[in-house]
């Protein structure tokens, strides 16, 4: 069957048909993302129209204006940023140095450390939220960004160690030895020679960590009860908790919140794909 089709269409024809089906499949798959963006552009009358319009008839930014003016979207986004940036910094500092050590040290302890890291990575954060809540309450850190930043960083540090360790192998040992012979201290060698060579993997891990911290929900939900401190994830949740929701406004809020993540993804897409595939299975 396949042979007959190939015979009739030739190699190039088959390739084009494959491409067409691939594009069609991708459009169907990513339709929900499109739906999110155009729902935010609809008027509140059009959003509840039946049948629904697949292209907004009167695209408007009204829903965006309303959520920015009366739903404190700017404050929610600022809080998300206040959490995500320190988490990214902590993760990059601990992850880059720890993974370097894991890739260079030869010891049975390293095997043990690797298993511990892999295992610690798997505990669902919402389950850690119960003990964290009690511990942070005891330390009087509830309703501080510090508590959420410390809790969120833990999982991304484990993730960064797993992803970055195999990538350090691509930095040749000879370069480090040459630098040492030239009189650099080990710390100088790491900072001036090794880290610059790891720029691309570090950008990928930084971006993925930022995305994960930006979307973090369980810890802010449980550790921050003051509304002024809550990030956008908790804000969106508050918006859809009820049976009825103003979906044009919810989707406008969700679009604003998801846009930075999608932009970051589109810019780094190729590097993220390459980074994930070398890290997660090695």
């Amino acid at each position: 069957m396949n042979g007959i089709v190939r015979h009739l269409l030739g190699r190039r024809g088959t390739a084009l048909i494959c491409c067409a089906f691939g594009v069609a499949g991708m459009i169907c798959f990513l339709f929900p993302v499109y739906w999110m963006f155009i729902s935010g552009l609809k008027t509140s009358a059009e959003i509840f129209a039946s049948p629904p319009s697949f292209v907004p008839e009167h695209p408007t930014l009204a829903a965006y204006r309303i959520v920015f003016e009366s739903e404190n979207v700017a404050r929610y986004m600022r809080n998300s940023l206040t959490i995500a940036i320190p988490v990214t910094v902590v993760t990059l500092v601990l992850g880059s140095s720890g993974a370097y050590a894991l890739s260079r040290l030869r010891s049975r302890l390293i095997d043990l450390a690797l298993v511990v890291i892999l295992v610690l990575q798997v505990f669902p954060d919402v389950l850690l939220a119960t003990p964290m809540f009690v511990i942070f309450r005891y330390l009087d850190l509830l309703n501080t960004f510090t508590s959420v930043i410390l809790a969120t960083s833990a999982k991304s540090v484990a993730f960064a160690l797993v992803i970055l360790r195999p990538m350090y192998r691509q930095v040749p040992m000879e370069i480090e030895e040459a630098s040492r012979v030239d009189g650099c201290t080990p710390l100088q060698t790491f900072r001036r020679i090794v880290l610059p060579l790891m720029r691309v993997p570090l950008v990928v891990v930084g971006a993925l960590t930022f995305v994960q911290a930006w979307g973090q929900f369980a810890y802010p939900l449980t550790l921050l009860s003051q509304q002024e401190l809550q990030p956008a994830t908790v804000g969106i949740y508050g918006f859809i908790g009820g049976e009825f929701a103003d979906w044009d406004r919810v989707m406008a809020f969700a679009s604003v919140f998801a846009a930075p993540v999608l932009i970051l993804f589109l810019v780094l897409q190729r590097k993220i794909v390459a980074g994930l595939t070398t890290g997660a299975l090695k």
Binding site: I47, L127, A218, I240, A245, V250, F265, K282
Partner: protein
């Protein structure tokens, strides 16, 4: 060699010591961080599961132990059984669907055609979205009256009256499962695609020369070579699906009547909505055991794959 002079030799030796001190210092910093902020909470959660923790005594760290009472109460509850079965179904269906669709898509995009690599990368756009946004989005898609899912299914005649996707107990678990499959499949696909590229082209050529068709090539070349990857990906999907709290919480909060509730969400409800922190911790520790078992299988498969 360069290090012939005694002074130089001394410097190099001192640097080697400095190097390993630095590396152990680096390692210690991240390990201490992980043990304090993940290890300690896991252990403290276990301690709490043997205590009666309520709002009255929550500000103390140590409380009298009450043995297995929390486990007896939580595990004996009929809700727990329902939620545990939901979790098994939710995770099981997700693993089969995500690995199945992921494998199919990876095979499709492994063919040579224009845009193949670009399209394959683009799929990750759904995986990169915050889980809460995915939950909100699918709650809107599955809205009974104005949702686009019901509209499309009615329009093409697959159903003749609207489905109550999120408010009918018979459908709620399926709805959150569909949303989570959409969310997670790209990640499985990318990892499987990486496994596919490591299979040598010569193996396929040799099989073709032996007269193997596409199905035989898949059965006798692709599948055996890909097996360790598929096992590792299944473990990862299990681990990630056990975490799916945000998405379900946004879509249904586990309802109606716990029909879409899963263990992590149930633990959250016991702790933070009913303030039975001890019960929440007991359900949490039970879930930890399950995740831990999967994690150990995962570590083992990575070993096998590394040796292969």
């Amino acid at each position: 060699m360069i290090s012939s002079s005694p002074r130089r030799r001394f410097t190099v030796a001192r640097q080697a010591v400095g190097q390993s001190a630095l590396l152990w210092g680096f390692l210690a910093a991240s390990m201490v961080y992980l043990l304090v902020f993940i290890g300690l909470p896991v252990v403290y959660n276990l301690v709490m599961s043997f205590q009666d923790v309520t709002l009255g005594n929550i500000s103390e760290l140590w409380r009298p132990l009450i043995g297995l009472d929390n486990y007896r109460e939580a595990l004996g509850d009929s809700t727990f059984r329902k939620v545990a079965i939901n979790s098994i179904v939710f995770v099981g269906v997700n693993v089969i669907a995500q690995v199945g669709f992921g494998l199919a898509a990876a095979l499709y995009f492994a063919q040579r055609f224009p845009l193949a690599a670009f399209l394959r990368g683009l799929v990750l756009a759904s995986w990169i979205l915050p889980a809460l946004v995915v939950g909100a989005l699918w709650k809107w898609i599955f809205a009974t009256e104005y949702g686009v899912a019901n509209y499309v299914l009615l329009a093409i005649g697959l159903i003749d009256r609207p489905i109550y996707w999120l408010s009918d107990p018979a459908f709620a678990l399926s709805s959150v499962t569909i949303a989570n499959i959409w969310f997670g499949t790209p990640f499985a696909m990318i990892l499987i695609a990486a496994g596919l590229t490591s299979i040598a082209e010569e193996q396929y050529e040799a099989a073709s020369l032996d007269g193997a068709g596409p199905i035989a090539r898949f059965r006798y070349v692709t599948l055996p070579a890909l097996w360790p990857t598929l096992l590792a990906v299944s473990c990862l999907v299990t681990i990630y699906t056990m975490r799916a709290f945000d998405l379900i919480f946004a879509m249904t909060q586990g309802g109606p009547l716990d029909s879409s509730n899963v263990l992590p969400l149930f633990s959250y409800q016991l702790s933070f909505l009913r303030f039975h922190f001890g019960l929440g911790a007991a359900v949490g520790s039970t879930t930890f055991v399950i995740v831990l078992a999967v994690a150990l299988v995962y570590v083992r498969t990575l070993r096998i794959e590394a040796e292969a």
